[in-house]
Amino acid sequence: MIVVSKFRFLTTVCICLIGLIIAIPSSLDQKTFDKLPAFLQHTVSLGLELRGGSHIQLEVDMKTVEKEHQESIVDEARKQLRKERILYKKISVQQITKGGSTATLISLKNEKDADKVKKILLKIEPELEVIAEGAEIKASISEEFLEKFAKRIVGESIEVIRRRIDEAGTKEPTILRQGYDRIIVQLPGVEDPAEIKKRLGKTAMLTFHGVDEELETIPAQAGTRPKLPVKPGVMYLPEDKGKGVVYYVPVKKQVFLTGKSLVDAQMTIDPQTSMPCVSQKFDKIEGTRKMAELSSKYLHKQFAMVLDGKVLSAPVFQAVINNGTAVVTGHFTMEEAQELALLLRAGALPAPLNVVEERNVGPSLGADSIADGKLATLLAFALVSLFMMLSYGKFGGFSVISLTFNIILLFASLTLLGATLTLPGIAGIALTIGMAVDSNVLIYERIREEIRLGIRPAMAIAQGYKMATTTIIDSNFTTLVGSIVLYEFGSGPIKGFAVTLAIGTIISLFTTFSLTKAVIAIWLKKHKNQDIVI
């Protein structure tokens, strides 16, 4: 006899009922769903290819970050060397590998200074790897440090991206770190992400600089670059004056104030010119103080607001600004001013981002896939059920019960785990249906063999269960081991598929050894003395 203890029976029933309650909301239409109490309003979350939307993979431009970091080291090193009166022939940042890795190269006049220089460099950046060969010194950033660096930068970028997307009002964006220097942005319901991509493509680094008084601003046609004078500590940056005219403004390299100190930015209309402009408010402590400092130093002189290497505007301070506000007037349209305000509010990206992958699915295609998937799943269920009943009669019917709960529990688990149902996931469900009955087939075949050996049916059922157990466990564990590894190393659709496969396997083990067994045990109790035909 097979015996299912009362405790086990009750647990099985409980699990099935809970699964049913969790799975039902996913199958309801929106109206009924809204009437449910809040704790039941959870459904299986659908992947982008099913609900429609946009998937963008971004790469943080670590090469630029590395180069900029090296350049700041070189700037600092120059100062220190001058202070220490160490003479050098050349100091520069150079690309050292084909992949674009950079290093700081210093060639000294005097070989004896090498150790000193080494110490100076390590003081500036302790994570540098410094190699000295005679008078030639090479300092590069170690792989581990770059990795740590990338981790931090990706983390910061994700924050900024989230703020920019939230500001734009996109619902439920998913923003994830991917690998070493990648970020995945998923935007459900967004069909054409051109706007958002444009928004993410900007670093939006706002800086305030003084303008050099000795050099002149040079006007030029847009698209041309005039010959510009060179002066240490000064860079010429373009300012778009509209109508195809660009001014090259001599901006001092020293940064007085950055967008980091901003607490707010809004589009406003300039009352004098009735042109759109962006008003900024800086934080109370640092921003306000520095603004006051800058405006008193450059009172009645020109200063520049620079965004991503372009001058937004270069006005003259008319008074000392003590209240920590500033207004950018440029040649903006309303939209441009609004966009700039948004970017400034959301903050600057720590590094440029490149789009490396993009997938957009329209909502109609997703809806079609869901409808097709439903139909195929139902049909698979019907075909397999029919076949099982043809093959095993009543006992086939028992496995249909367990198959039903297999699907219900699968949906419930996906809902509970917050796993995403993808297109391969749907295929995984339909396949689970086909493979889930395998355990039942194994047991029933075993029972048939025992009966043929002349064992009493009730005994044969117990024996069949016992004999098939090892086989079922071995075959299911092989699948389970495979799908866990697959989940660990796979990405995208492979991961989605692995989840469904693993959950499906575990659930089919449960239904075979708890649910079907319980159903058969109950049936056997009622029909104790009947002949059993399987």
């Binding site: 097709d372 698979a380 087939v441 075949e445 699948t479």
Partner: protein
Amino acid sequence: MFRLHLIRYGTKFDIVGKTKYLLSLAVALILVCMGSVFIKGLNYGIDFQGGYIFEVKIPGNPDIQTLRDKLGKLGLGEVAIQQFGASDEFSIKLEKSEDGAEQTVAIQKVKGALGDGVVYKKVETVGPKVGAELVSNAIKAVGFALLAMLCYIAVRFEWQFGLCAIAALFHDCAIIFGMFSIFPMEFNEMSITAILLTASYSINDTVVIFDRIRENLKRYKSLELKEIVNKSLNETLSRTTLTATTTLLSVFALYIFGGKVIAAFSLPILIGIVVGTFSSIFIASPLLVFMNIKPKKEKGAPEAANSM
């Protein structure tokens, strides 16, 4: 009472005796398939090669040739246009793959060339870097998954069983790869999943038969290995065909009614299940005969089979 029996009880097929022919058939098939993969290659999708895919609905029955000419001028590499479903729905594939800002420019170019009134059901771009990464990730994932399954078999059975399972798996994968190449189906990330599914089904199937062989090895200590394998194969034949049938039925439902994308995914699985079942019966188990397995002493294996 009526019962459907795919396989009658008490078959006594001499499968091991025909190993020579079956193995030659399998080797020939593998050679053809691998040959096709090496000579003809695979029809890579943009997942692995990089590029652009547009699925569009263009009003007013446009001519494919004109479309192709228009898009060919954009300098985005080879253009492949396929009509599907309704006569105004097309899938357009462009081969050139780029990173960063060029992607957006290219999408705008194509949209410009197609003109107004076009409904974009799906737009995908994959840069060359991501493509290369997807390939290496997929290979890594599949490799490790297979290795893990084989380790499990080696631990639960004997290393010889693991070796035979590898041979069967190699056969399955080679033939499916070959199918992708011979009937040029697009090879993308979903295809990898299809191959994996086949592999896991096949190994599952093999394990069930191995399990019976292990059990019979202990039960019939005097029988020759050849007879034990034959006996085990015949005993499990009913289950093997039954499970293959239920699985095939559900994949078939997917293939017919699952829609375009799922259908493309189910076809290799349909083939894979047939191939996997074939390899479990005709390759993995008969190969064991050549493996010099001695009847097991009571070690390692679970005792359930002996406890009658």
